[in-house]
């Protein structure tokens, strides 16, 4: 039974987030005063039409981009005000990313792809001294994702579902608290999509991993604890699902 006290509280809070893209004279306002609060251990699904700004929100949450206005507070820390170096470090240590197109590096084997975050973190010398520990870690994650046998294969030799599982293993290697998934099943067939969703649910439950998943698939979104819809640059509760499905361990979900 995991320690519950550490799981209670807000992990991510977003206040009045604005983001616009400018191209020449035209400005496209994507996020317009968006607010969001995500609790620790929550599995949140965000749905919306394509182009509604779901991915933009995810990139802002993951410190890949900076907002025009508003605040993103991660574990009590203003992410949007961090320096470039600190944001690089935050991405490397605190967040895990899963993308629609898997985004594995084609030159590296599955195992090396999973190890990529720690190889980025360490210099050659540091890596040499820690390689055994991280290799063990990566192998156990691959085992967990059912890819142990595929560890020396290259991404192009894997099926879509396998690639996505490898990407999830990579996202989990550094033990992040928050997993940001951008249409993780968007490119997969139904079976593979179900497998991925099962994996995400298991991870959410077992490791109390907080997951924010962006999708346009309502069926998958319904499996999350809570579902929000992106419209007009803001998030709104989905009608008919106003009562969020909160994990029993967390008790009542504050509205």
């Amino acid at each position: 039974m995991p320690d519950l006290t550490s799981q209670i509280g807000t992990l991510v809070r977003v206040e009045g987030l604005y983001k616009a893209y400018r191209k020449g004279d035209t400005t496209v306002s994507v996020l317009r005063g968006l607010n969001l609060q995500v609790e620790k251990g929550e599995f949140l699904a965000i749905v919306g039409a394509s182009g509604s700004g779901k991915s933009t929100l995810l990139h802002l949450l993951g410190a890949l981009d900076v907002p025009d206005a508003g605040a993103i507070i991660y574990a009590g820390q203003r992410v949007d005000r961090l320096s470039v170096t600190d944001r690089d470090r935050l991405r490397n240590t605190a967040f895990g990313f899963v993308f629609q197109f898997y985004h594995l590096l084609p030159e590296l084997t599955v195992l090396e792809n999973v190890l990529a975050p720690v190889m980025i973190r360490y210099s050659l010398w540091q890596w040499w001294h820690r390689r055994r520990h991280w290799r063990r870690q990566a192998l156990s994650l691959l085992e967990r994702c059912g890819l142990a046998a595929r560890r020396y294969h290259y991404p192009q030799e894997l099926s879509g579902g396998e690639m996505q599982r490898a990407a999830i293993a990579r996202a989990l290697l550094t033990g992040p608290q928050l997993l940001l998934a951008d249409e993780p099943t968007g490119n997969l067939d139904a079976d593979a999509a179900t497998q991925i969703m099962h994996l995400l649910h298991d991870l959410n439950r077992e490791n109390t991993l907080t997951i924010i998943m962006v999708t346009h698939n309502w069926e998958l979104a319904k499996q999350a604890h809570r579902m929000l819809r992106m419209a007009d640059g803001r998030l709104e509760p989905v009608p008919g699902r106003t009562v969020p499905k909160v994990p029993a361990s967390l008790g009542a979900y504050p509205s």
Binding site: D88, R91, F101, L105, P106, L108, I120
Partner: protein, 483 residues
């Protein structure tokens, strides 16, 4: 750490990058080969130039030379002590050479440089002996003015044959002067003798093919006689008390051997005779026009020795210089030539650099998504830049390494290659008679190979700076959207 791994993987999987490697390789190989051959030519030329020249020359500014040869030599020996190997007096003058070419019946006249040498010491100051054709003289240069073997036979046969229509006197004294003493050669019956430059005694057969062994036709061979006309010292007053002026002296010389140093300029103009003969003919007893000095350690002592000699030989009367000073313009021309060639050839590597630039830009565009992934996983801009810089360095290293191997191999086997090319194309690539070298000379120099390698690496890394900066500046979000 990922930089090195990715760099290594890119190197193994990007075949486009092979083009960069090949261009760097070819540039480096070319530079190494050209530098080695140029250095080889320069070294060979220096050896040749030096071969017949002593280390230091003390030359009288007057054509009449200086008196008191013995004292001057003693002074030099005293000044330089055991730093010298040998000192020898030389008389250098211009002369007209005249001979009758039997086959045509024409009298041929040509200007030559007459060098009067002291047989006992001259060979110690230069490689003179090595360039004599007669192998006996090569090891016994002090006897090079003796008529031996075939030369003596030919001389005696010709002398008896034309005895009736040639003047009994072998030389004519200039008007108003007492007749000079007879020749200095050891045997009393011997005439004046001379060693002729190979280019004077022969001409190149225009019909000869490149592969022919004997391409030269002999006009003169040892044993033949030539007339040499020179001028006397200019300060001899006439018997009637008139002011001194140079008078022509003509004497007949028998060729004792030929001289071939393979510098066509020297071979076609030098005639060596015994200094005592020139002293007599030019009426300059105990005089010489220059002293040739060979040092034990040229590189270490030359400058100092020249300075010392300049203090004791009045600069108005004597020019003291090293052989390099004397051949300065020629040696300078070689080094300038090499410098320019190097600049031009480095442009080849610069072209390779632009190739790297273009190919790297393409790779950066191709890898935009991967760069986005790396940044999403926490890679810094500097780290991404590092990937491409080290990739450029790796390409440069591999290219320069292969180029060095190729260049050194070509340099070592250049003559075999040249022969193979000549056989294959039917064209002579290296016309041997132009330089008289039978092999293409090469001199592989460590520091120039190193310099070429460093230059190639600098260009390879330099060319990857721009693409690397561009990769580093990519916004991760934009890169990830890139499909």
């Amino acid at each position: 750490m990922y930089k090195w791994l990715l760099c290594w993987r890119y190197l193994r999987t990007r075949y486009l990058a092979l083009a960069c490697i090949v261009s760097v390789m070819l540039g480096v190989a070319t530079l190494i080969v050209v530098n080695s051959v140029m250095e080889g030519f320069a070294t060979k030329l220096r050896q040749r130039l030096r071969g017949i020249q002593a280390d230091i020359l003390v030359e009288a500014r007057s054509h009449d030379g200086f008196p008191g040869v013995e004292e001057k030599i003693a002074r030099v020996q005293q000044l330089l002590g055991d730093r010298i190997v040998a000192v020898t007096p030389v008389i250098e003058t211009f002369a007209m050479l005249q001979f009758r070419y039997q086959h045509v019946g024409e009298v041929i006249t040509r200007p030559v440089r007459l060098i009067g040498i002291d047989t006992s010491s001259h060979a110690q100051t230069s490689d003179f002996a090595r360039h004599l054709l007669n192998p006996y003289f090569q090891s016994n240069p002090e006897e090079c003015f003796r008529l031996l073997g075939a030369a003596r036979e030919r001389y005696e046969r010709l002398r008896d044959w034309i005895a009736d229509d040639t003047e009994s006197q072998s030389y004519q004294a200039p008007s108003g002067l007492p007749p000079p003493e007879p020749p200095a050669a050891t045997e009393a019956s011997s005439p004046f003798t001379a060693v002729l430059g190979y280019g004077i005694a022969t001409y190149r057969n225009p019909q000869a093919r490149a592969t022919d062994q004997h391409k030269d036709v002999f006009l003169l061979v040892p044993g033949d006689s030539v007339q040499l006309t020179m001028v006397t010292r200019s300060d001899l007053p006439g018997h009637d008390g008139t002011q001194g002026y140079p008078r022509p002296v003509t004497a007949s010389f028998v060729i004792s051997d030929l001289f071939r140093c393979e510098m066509s300029e020297y071979d076609a103009s030098l005639v060596f005779v015994d200094i005592r003969d020139v002293q007599r003919l030019r009426a300059m007893p105990n005089r010489a026009t220059s002293l040739h000095i060979r040092l034990r350690d040229y590189d270490g002592d030359a400058r100092q020795a020249v300075e010392l000699l300049r203090q004791h030989f009045h600069p108005a009367l004597y020019a003291v210089q090293t052989w390099e000073d004397k051949q300065g313009p020629l040696l300078a021309a070689i080094s300038i030539e090499r410098g320019i060639l190097n600049i031009l050839l480095f442009l080849i590597i610069a072209v390779a650099g632009f190739g790297i630039l273009a190919i790297f830009f393409m790779i950066v565009v191709e890898k935009t998504r991967d760069i986005g992934i790396l940044k999403a996983l926490g890679a810094s801009s500097r780290g991404v830049m590092g990937i491409f810089l080290s990739y450029g360095l790796a390409l440069g290293l591999v290219g320069a390494g292969l180029g060095t191997v190729l260049g050194v191999a070509i340099t070592v086997y250049i003559n075999e290659l040249e022969q193979w090319l000549a056989r294959w194309t039917g064209q002579e690539v290296f016309p041997r008679d132009v330089y008289y070298f039978d092999r293409i000379p090469t001199d592989l120099q460590m520091h120039s190979v190193l310099l070429v390698n460093l230059g190639a690496l600098a260009i390879a890394v330099g060319a990857s700076v721009f693409p690397a900066l561009r990769a580093a500046a990519l916004q991760p979000v934009r890169a990830l959207r890139y499909e």
